[in-house]
Symmetry: C2
Subunit: 317 residues, 2 copies
Amino acid sequence: MQKFTIGIDIGGTNTAFGIVNRQGTILYNHSIPTQRHEKVEDFITELCLEITAGLNTITEEFELIGIGIGAPNANYLNGTIENAANLRWKGKIELSKMVNKHFNVPIFVTNDANAAAIGEKIYGGAKNMNDFIVITLGTGLGSGIVSHGKLLYGHDGFAGELGHTIVEANGRACGCGRYGCLETYVSATGLVRSVAEQISQNIAPSIFRDIPFNKITSKDLAIAAANGDEIAKNALKKTGRILGEAIANMIAITSPEAIFLFGGLTKAGKILLDEVTYHMDKNILFIYKNKVKLLLSQLPDDAAILGASALVWTEFE
Amino acid sequence: MQKFTIGIDIGGTNTAFGIVNRQGTILYNHSIPTQRHEKVEDFITELCLEITAGLNTITEEFELIGIGIGAPNANYLNGTIENAANLRWKGKIELSKMVNKHFNVPIFVTNDANAAAIGEKIYGGAKNMNDFIVITLGTGLGSGIVSHGKLLYGHDGFAGELGHTIVEANGRACGCGRYGCLETYVSATGLVRSVAEQISQNIAPSIFRDIPFNKITSKDLAIAAANGDEIAKNALKKTGRILGEAIANMIAITSPEAIFLFGGLTKAGKILLDEVTYHMDKNILFIYKNKVKLLLSQLPDDAAILGASALVWTEFE
């Protein structure tokens, strides 16, 4: 009998789920808006009805061995979402318990970056690794640290907030209320802030003088930089330098076999990645030199669903 | 029958060892000079003869269950010392294999900071903790990170080099060949460098204008600061601020239950520790606020021997 897991990715706008086999094939997937319901219970009910409908499309005999959920501010140890800024339901949401009312299988909950890390281990480039880090580069910067083959959760389940290490005292204001957090420099948003900084300081011509900040994408910047746009090049280089320096420090702390980069910002291409590599190598302590691989995530586009589903396999293996 | 372990602490000057029971009582201890012999094999032979002599003084029946060794640049995974700057024997020393020729028991090797962390767990203040960090503040700065109850060794056995994270780009020159490493600011040596910096910048009177830098101790500075010496106070405050900031970042990465401070620099007293606490609290991400304890090590003075011996107990428990 085939074994399946379900991976759910709860995002600020949409919630996607998939029925996934051990090889990482998604047999069925679907998504619903996240924030249509005032009560979180009603959202969970709708989601679980959709999952049941999905399961009913499977014609072969199967066993559902568990459900993995990736969500913002999710806590693995408690099975909860706690104070997520981009969800309408405030306080502590008992996610695991609520889903369990609909499906009597083990439920595992974690944040997006941890899910990406476990996805990389189960289906991606980290299959044979026990010590590695996945850095997710989207609107913000997240990290999932795997040590001795297990996610590093820390005492309260919230380890891995690399994006909120302070890399510049009194630096850029961060959504967390502090200043100089890594993600204010290294993320899709941070990159665009560096474009603004360049425009404030540099007189070079640039197409980004004519595009609203909120419309600038990492891919636009990669293309412009490849065409010689100095503003774009400098912004990408600054982002790459700060990420390379942060990676060198993370290596000194955790000594991983590899660092995987994941998410939208990796689309910013060769200029960014070359700079990351250069500054990682320049700043790495000699004992780690030429030991640590810097890699792009090998998860496909449905990574969030896969990562969440991987949580379940990893618990049983 | 009583079970004993042996803890060995290999230092640049002396090598101390002790016969230790599960409660952390040292039944016999002795030390020999580390660097008397040109060949490392001869040093090991002398050490093992002394250990045998020690074991012969025990009159009750006992079982020696293993030997733990703390040493600079020691590698747990390989049982080796690799390129230790302050030992006369260069390259890779097969420590574990050499000691095994004399004692047919399991041998475990790790660096001083990791040994301190395991010592804290077995005999000290971390007995009931599974996620914590010990920061050793001596001539340099070391760290031992315990996650899920186990030391975080990383892929190559050399994780935990918090002292070699770069906290100031183009900062103070470090013995590792780079600039701005945490230990160039936060260590007994770093503190004295901050005294020199103060003397270069500040015109306040100070007794430290009349003491050679190499003679200034952390304790001297604590006493002078308590008596109002501005140079001493500012140097201690800078050290405390940078350590507090580094701890806040380490919390975001590993989310420990507690941080233990260990070693000579903790003798620098209240001004330093208050400053560490203040800047840790000021820089901590809100989700960790009031969750993480900052504690002084509860290991006694023989901590290095105890930490090494604790390595053995932890392997069997």
